[in-house]
Amino acid sequence: MEHLAFTCLSVFSLACALGVVLSKNAINGAMCLLLCLAGVAGLFVQLHAYLLAFVLVLVYAGAVVALFLFIIMLLDMQGGRTWKFRGLNAAAGFVAALLLITGLNLLAVRGHLEAGPPIGNSVGSSLKFYSYQLFTTYLLPVQIIGFLLLIAMLGVIVLSRRAPQPEDAK
């Protein structure tokens, strides 16, 4: 049962990921990304990382993909060139894909992990333990993340302000 779900979810995620890569239209790509994330979230659930699945959907689907869609629409690139996979680009792409597949194959053959069945519950399954971790061991990174978000915000503001300020022009 679990196996079947895994298979379905993984095939779904891979297909959607390929959709992101191959879709001609950026909006379609964004939608594929959304679905792919959903698939991954499903896998998270299967791994008992319920909280993380939730966060993934919340942050990625809710914020990131939405932002993407928003920007795509804002920039309104429908009239722009559509993507064509041809010529040298395609050849290089195929070579790249081949190389990547070889790498995967290498990983599959040589990188065999002898892991047993899942051991216990990971913290991802419990909000409480998760929070403990964040507020004890990883308190410093959390604080840093705060600063990161602050500068990201400032950055977005700086980068999106339209007109130069008059007092700086002097």
């Binding site: 895994f6 990304l33 991954v40 791994l47 993934l56 990983l107 069945p117």
Partner: protein
């Protein structure tokens, strides 16, 4: 029977590779950026799987940071892309080559 750790890792690696491929072959900055996000998500998948199978907890916590960082990165990245679109009226990377040689 549960799927093995290997299959999770392989799936994650495959997603990562697909993301990489997207970055390689796409020309639209936004799509490239989506592919990059895909790569990050692929990494989180492996991380969660490892945490689960190995019974270690740091991985799950790490995912939180990855997602947050990714969100911040996306915000900044999109701001740059928007600003660039305003200046150059394009987001196609093959037209963005005024800096070269």
């Amino acid at each position: 029977m549960t799927p093995s750790l290997d299959s999770y890792v392989m799936l994650s690696a495959a997603l990562f590779a697909i993301g990489f491929l997207g970055v390689l072959i796409r020309r639209n900055t936004l799509v490239i950026y989506m592919c990059l996000e895909l790569m990050l998500v692929a990494a989180t998948l492996a991380l969660v799987a490892f945490s689960r199978f190995n019974g270690t907890e740091d991985g799950d916590v790490f995912v939180f940071f990855i997602l947050t960082v990714a969100a911040a990165e996306v915000a900044v990245g999109l701001a740059i892309i928007v600003a660039l679109f305003r200046a150059r009226q394009t987001v196609q990377v093959d037209q963005l080559d005024s800096l070269k040689h």
